[in-house]
Amino acid sequence: MSENQMNGAEALIQSLEKIGIEIMFGLPGGSAIPLFDALYKVRRKMKFVLVRHEQNAAHEADGYARATGKPAAVLVTSGPGATNTVTGIMTAYMDSVPMIVVTGQSVRGMLGKDAFQEADVFNLTMPIVKHSYLVKNANDIPRVVKEAYHIATTGRPGPVLIDVPKDVGTEACTAGLEAEMNLPGYKPEPKGYAPETIRQIADALAKSQRPVIIAGHGAVLSRAEKELRQLAETLQAPVATTLLGKGVFPDSHKLSLQGLGMHGTAYANRAVVECDLMISVGARLDDRILGVPSQFCKNAVKIHIDIDAAEFGKLVKPDIRCRGDAKTVLQDLLPLLKKGDTADWIKRIDGFKKKWPMTYAKKGGLHPPQVIDALNKLTGGKAIMTTDVGQHQMWAWQFYRCDKPWQFISSGGAGTMGFGLPAAIGAQFGRPGETVIAIVGDGGFQMTMSDLATAVIHQLPVKIILMNNHYLGMVRQWQDMFYDERYSGVDLEGNPDFVELAKAYGILGLNLKRAADIPKVLKKALDHPGPALVNVEVVHHEEVFPMVPPGKPLEETVLCHPRRKPGRPAGRKNDPAKSGAKKG
């Protein structure tokens, strides 16, 4: 078909292919039929994956982007199809993940008239997209797609939504696919800093005796792992990583503090408390890592490097702010640095590591950290890990050791339950030859497990490790610790037999019930050529530690349950299964 005979829908699909979108996840409906018809007619290289729920489409695109660095597209219908993507868009937005979401829309003449399946998606999603378009003219499509891709992938990445009325899809597009962008207000500015700022940072670093580096998702996104390592090794400064920064500095490096914050390591939190200088490389310093924002690094010099100027001073007021791409900034900074003499500081930190090592219980039933640790050994820390949200997520973060970025995929800012499985599917599409493991909870898994079908159809060998504690565990932990064990609405009675469920989809399903079987069962799942699910019957009552209780500063990181010894299962005061108490 020649370009001048295209309709809007065909122009859209061809523009997405032209710009380099390799994969699209979606599900059709009335308003999107012209778009799907164009997929049928003009799609060449781009893969299309039919999902079972539109939320999954967005999470799959998200997982793909977090595993590859390349954006994927989502294609859904108007109204409920579009609103089903909202959680997925918000998840991507909070974690700066590039994505292009195309939504079908009612015909132009019906907009605002409450037509069948009309939802004002443009306005509904406005606070959770980096930018959005409601296309009113087919000739705008090539430009809009080009702009959307540019906006999604540059500066601080994020999702961009394109709402396409049905009759814009069927209208002729005579504009041709070569389009000029017109974005006079868009300024991603990788070098939005003065040389003077770099000098100031270098001077502050030269004066510091107890520096700490915090590395976040920005360092991953800008591919600054090499420069970050040079920074740490030159300064001889320890590095703590955020949930989304995991792997950008090797967990196994002797300068690594691993994670910090609410469930960070005690030594990372202590180092942050005692440092005289904190330099944040691409972390937005959100409330989950700060403890009490006003107390965070109170007496330390605070340096904040971020591509997004709006992050400066949101919660923490930096002494030096440097707006720029992490890699670019570090490349400018490194030549100005002298070798740091921090031997005493490192010795002190090594002392913290000895005093408060990351340990876990091994007796009295199966414990999730044991399983994560075993996975770590079996995969040599090389698997791509996705997680759902809850206790298992925190344990995966704490006990899986990553030495590379783009390897640990978790919903941080949004904390979206249901993310784990679809993210793993997306990641496996992006990196087909590699081991992809989804660590999920029994609660979150049930929110999006419908896409098991997608894993089966495409024979994606994702390994689902389901930490089945029969609870919405993380909420139960809070109720246990801060609400005097009043368990309300957290008992997941009625869980299905997950192994039978897996089998119903034609997936290998395995039970893991005894610690002695851990290596055998996990190995069987990992060696299986197709998708596999392991239902791990873990201890029902177990809490994630260390923990900074809500509203407390990092100084008050607690190592074990205030009312119990570490490793000992919880009291069963209000356990409905034991006492017959009212269920939530």
């Binding site: 306005n123 606070p127 930018h131 207000g185």
Partner: protein, 166 residues
């Protein structure tokens, strides 16, 4: 936070695209800033609009809002201006109920503020006044002695003095 909840003048230069106003309004409301007046008008060329916003809030919140607005894809510039840096003007139309006895007094007030009479009837008079918002406040206050039937104000528009950009 030096100036708690003081009033700020913001000028936003924005590409004339659908949704631009909604995005900016959301940026303010999400952060608890109360917009006192908002004027949107065509910029020097048709592709761009100029928004002048007066809003109340604290300094830290204001800095966030300026950065959040600047970050919007359609926004070319978002700046705060102190009263000294700018020429600020507002226009008011005031409809006052007056009978023939009161008319003289009202016209005297109008004269003092250089307001024009733009409509006159048996029972009412409409005055048009321009000037600083403070001047309009003062005039409206004096007119409250009579019965103000309707009051419409455009909201403040500002322009930076001299070579400075607004």
């Amino acid at each position: 936070m030096s100036k708690e909840n003081s009033t700020h003048n913001l000028s936003i230069y924005v590409a004339n695209r659908p949704g631009a106003l909604a995005r900016i309004a959301q940026t303010f409301s999400r952060r608890g800033f109360n917009i006192e007046s908002l004027v949107v008008s065509a910029g020097a060329t048709g592709d761009f609009s100029r928004m002048t916003i007066t809003a109340k809030g604290d300094e830290a919140g204001l800095e966030q809002i300026i950065m959040q607005c600047s970050k919007l894809v359609d926004v070319l510039a978002c700046r705060e201006h102190t009263d000294e840096e700018v020429v600020a003007r507002e226009l008011a139309l005031v409809k006052v109920a007056v009978d023939s006895h009161q008319r003289g007094e009202v016209l005297q007030i109008a004269d003092h503020f250089r307001a024009k009479t733009v409509d006159l009837s048996e029972k009412s008079i409409v005055l048009e006044a321009t000037g600083s918002s403070e001047k309009l406040d003062a005039m409206v206050d004096l007119l409250r002695k009579y019965k103000i039937i309707e009051l419409v104000r455009t909201g403040k528009v500002i322009m930076a003095r001299g070579e400075r950009e607004t």
